[in-house]
């Protein structure tokens, strides 16, 4: 599956290894990947936890469209997006994007495109829990 929504913590290295097992060895020369991990600080505050909400059905469809757009724009062999939902702790991975291609430029470009496109387009919403237990919805994404 090119798009995977995970309700439990996932291991990006395992996700890449498993997905790559389905791609013909020797066909790709380049793999670019990106992992977004939950930090323990944001906008000057210590963050203890996060809840990630999504729109089941719509979110998966949008992520598949983002991958289709990347395939239309660059000469890539395959691509993977994994995204967490639910309760997340600092240090846990939130998102993984990975691209396999023959040459490195396409992999680098498309992997970055996947991240920027999913951040701006896909229906995910983050709520942070601060020290003391107060909660706040994240109002806008960090710039690239």
């Amino acid at each position: 599956m090119n798009v995977q929504i995970k309700a439990e913590s996932f291991n990006p290295a395992d996700a890449i290894t498993q997905f790559e097992a389905g791609i013909t060895g020797g066909s790709f020369g380049a793999t670019a990947s990106f992992v977004g991990t939950m930090r323990d600080f944001n906008e000057g505050d210590t963050v203890c936890g996060m809840h990630l909400e999504h729109y089941p059905g719509m979110t998966e469809k949008q992520l598949q469209e983002v991958i289709d757009d990347a395939k239309a724009q660059w000469d890539i062999i395959d691509a993977l997006i994994v995204h967490r939902v639910g309760d997340i702790k600092p240090g846990e991975p939130i998102v993984l994007t990975a691209v396999w291609s023959a040459h490195r430029a396409a992999a680098f470009d498309a992997c970055r495109f996947l991240m920027e496109a999913l951040k701006s387009r896909a229906t995910f919403w983050k709520k942070e829990t601060l020290t003391g237990g107060s909660e706040r919805w994240v109002e806008k994404n960090t710039p690239g």
Partner: protein, 77 residues
């Protein structure tokens, strides 16, 4: 003759409701759905809309059986 309405994230929390159905009778646009579902007239500027899992603007049309959603700006990734 119904339209399913969904609210997400802060909007869901503020409204204390996530899913509801409204009578589709007389509803022509996304704006009309918002008015019937919330009893308020204007969709706030920072509220985004979708119809059947596709982003839509407030003036765009709806029909019986559609799923219409309202949500704040996205913050994934």
């Amino acid at each position: 003759m119904a339209i399913k309405v969904k609210f997400f994230a802060s909007l869901r929390e503020q409204r204390k409701e996530g899913v509801k159905e409204v009578d589709a009778q007389g509803l022509k646009s996304v704006s009309d759905v918002w008015e019937r579902a919330t009893d308020t007239t204007l969709i706030p500027a920072n509220v985004l809309c979708s119809v059947n899992l596709e982003h839509r603007e407030p003036h765009e049309s709806v029909k019986d059986g559609d799923e219409v959603a309202f949500f704040p700006p996205v913050t994934g990734g």
